[in-house]
C-alpha cells in the first residue's frame, strides 16, 4: 500500500472516450451466424422402430 497522505478533495472528471472500430467484423462462411434465423427449421430425422 502506497502512503500518499490524507485525502484532501474529490474531483469528478469525465470518463475516457472509447472510439468503436469502424472496420466491420467479417463473419466466416463456414460458421453460421447465430443472429440470423434459418429459413427453414432444422428437422431431426424421425425415429423408426425396428
Amino acid at each position: 500500500m502506497a502512503q500518499i497522505g490524507v485525502p484532501k478533495r474529490i474531483i469528478e472528471t469525465p470518463q475516457p472516450i472509447f472510439i468503436p472500430s469502424t472496420v466491420p467484423i467479417e463473419w466466416p462462411e463456414s460458421v453460421p451466424d447465430p443472429m440470423v434465423q434459418p429459413a427453414e427449421p432444422v428437422r431431426t430425422p424421425e425415429l423408426v422402430p425396428a
Partner: protein, 183 residues
C-alpha cells in the same frame, strides 16, 4: 494466574493518514469537498515487469493488478463499490512528484510509469487515487537498464535477459530509454 495480553483497543492511536483505516476516520472528521474538472491529471507510479514463459506483462506493485495499455477501470476488491471511495483505500494510485522517495528505483524489473487518471479522483497530500488509468509512458531509468540499443531487464522472479524491443512489443506502451522515446 494466567497472563492474558491486553485487548486490541488498548493499542496507542496511530497518526491520521498513516494506517489504512485511518482514512475513513479522517474523512468523517474532515468532510471532503467535491469539484468538477474538465480534464484528469497525470501521476507517477512504479510497476513490476512480470515475465511469463515467452512474454512479459506489467503489474502494479501495490495492488498486483495487471496494467493494460488501454484505459482500465479500478475495482474495489474489498467492498465492491465504485473505486476510488473516500472511505476506502481502493483505486489506481499515483504520486504527484516524479522524484518522490517512495518511487526511487530499487529493482530493475520495476520501472517508473507516468499515467493519466480520469473519472472520479481523490486528491491526497502526496498522491492521487483515480478511477480510470491510462499509461502514458514507461521510463527505464534503473542503472541495470542498458542505455543503448539493446536494454537489459534483470527480473526478480526468474533472472533472464530481455530486449527493449520485445518489451515494447509485449506491453504496447511507449518506453523512454535514456531520454529517447521508443515505440
Amino acid at each position: 494466574m494466567a497472563f492474558f495480553p491486553p485487548p486490541l483497543q488498548n493499542k496507542p492511536p496511530t497518526k491520521p493518514g498513516v494506517g489504512m483505516n485511518d482514512w475513513a476516520r479522517y474523512v468523517k472528521a474532515n468532510p471532503l469537498e467535491t469539484i468538477v474538472a474538465e480534464e484528469g491529471r497525470t501521476a507517477w507510479k512504479r510497476v513490476e515487469i512480470v515475465v511469463r514463459d515467452d512474454w512479459m506483462m506489467l503489474q502494479s506493485i501495490h495492488s498486483s493488478d495487471i496494467v493494460n495499455s488501454s484505459p482500465t477501470a479500478a475495482r474495489c476488491k474489498i467492498q465492491h463499490h465504485r473505486a476510488p471511495d473516500e472511505y476506502c483505500t481502493c483505486g489506481w494510485y499515483g504520486f504527484y512528484d516524479r522524484f518522490h522517495p517512495q518511487l526511487v528505483p530499487f529493482l530493475s524489473s520495476q520501472p517508473l510509469m507516468e499515467v493519466y487518471l480520469q473519472g472520479k479522483l481523490i486528491e491526497h497530500e502526496e498522491g492521487v487515487r483515480g478511477e480510470w488509468q491510462t499509461p502514458l509512458g514507461i521510463y527505464l531509468d534503473h542503472p541495470n537498464h542498458n542505455n543503448g540499443l539493446i536494454g537489459v531487464f534483470l527480473t526478480s522472479y526468474n533472472q533472464q535477459y530481455f530486449s527493449v524491443e520485445q518489451f515494447i512489443n509485449d506491453i504496447d506502451i511507449p518506453v523512454n530509454v535514456g531520454g529517447k522515446w521508443m515505440y
